[in-house]
Amino acid sequence: MPRKHKRKVESPVDVTLPITPMLDMSFQLLSFFILTFHPMPVEGQLSINLPKIDASEKPEIDPTPPDEKKDEYTLTVISNSSGEVALISLKGPTVNSENIKNFADLFVQLKNIPKPQNKAELVAITIEASNDLTYARLIETMDLCKKAGYDSVNLAPTKGGR
């Protein structure tokens, strides 16, 4: 006669994953990332034409028709040794200002440039900056040109470098 094995009735094992320590660790990671996170400031661009590498370089073929040739103005920004603006001058077909005192005066002069056919696109401005001028002042100058409505801006070093 087969012997009957009586199995012991075991109480069911309660399998639980301990979530709490994992959550603690996740919160610590989260607080680390939140504290070390520095949102980047909103950045934007100012378009600029590429410079001529040397004076002998031939200009590219200009697609603009001859009756829409641009009036070219040269804005010279001379800096002192600390990189701040020391002297500003603006020269072109209709303007010859040698001693512009500050950026506010420059903005007025730029706004007053007579536009051919009333189009600001037909005015090109070349900023000649001295070697020591800081990028902040250069961007400020470019920003003024754009604010005055001129999109075609070129950069060049001043003739003597200063």
Binding site: P41, E43, A129, T134, Y135
Partner: protein, 153 residues
């Protein structure tokens, strides 16, 4: 809050909160911050302090081919991997390598890639001009200078 467990015995109510959804949420937040932190460190160096401009325009959806050059206060071009570039010749070589590595070919890269210079506000014009000339020598056609947009933080 829901009550977890099997309900317990007669008259006993288990009051363990269900933490799993909370854990899911926290892990998602952790993942978000990790990814965002990596994106920032990849191309845009936070060692560069940009000047402010009111007329600067943010990138649009059409600006797909972009190459950043981070120029520090001393005029060195910082790379995410490797030593900084100092001479114009090394910048030109780097830019040519980048054009060659473009999936649509070197000519496409030169004609369609917009090079954005992110320079420190205290760097001098000669460093900017040196970098611009090197970009031109490498054959690129589009260039922009980057600044912080005034009034937006």
């Amino acid at each position: 809050m829901s009550h977890g467990g099997g309900g317990g015995g007669r008259g006993q109510v288990s009051s363990d909160p269900n933490l799993t959804p909370l854990l899911d949420l926290v892990l998602q937040l952790v993942m978000f911050f990790m990814l965002v932190a990596n994106f920032i460190m990849d191309e845009l160096s936070d060692k560069i302090h940009l000047p402010v401009a009111s007329q600067a325009k943010p990138l649009t959806a059409n600006d797909r081919n972009i190459l950043y050059l981070n120029v520090n206060k001393e005029g060195k071009v910082l790379l995410s991997v490797g030593d900084p570039l100092i001479t114009p010749e090394s910048i030109t070589v780097y830019m040519r390598q980048q054009a060659r590595a473009h999936p649509k070919g070197e000519a496409f890269a030169r004609d369609n890639t917009t090079v954005i210079i992110r320079a420190d506000k205290d760097t001098r014009f000669q460093n900017i001009f040196k970098t611009m000339s090197a970009i031109k020598a490498a054959g690129y056609k589009k260039l922009q200078l980057r600044a912080e947009i005034a009034g937006q933080k």
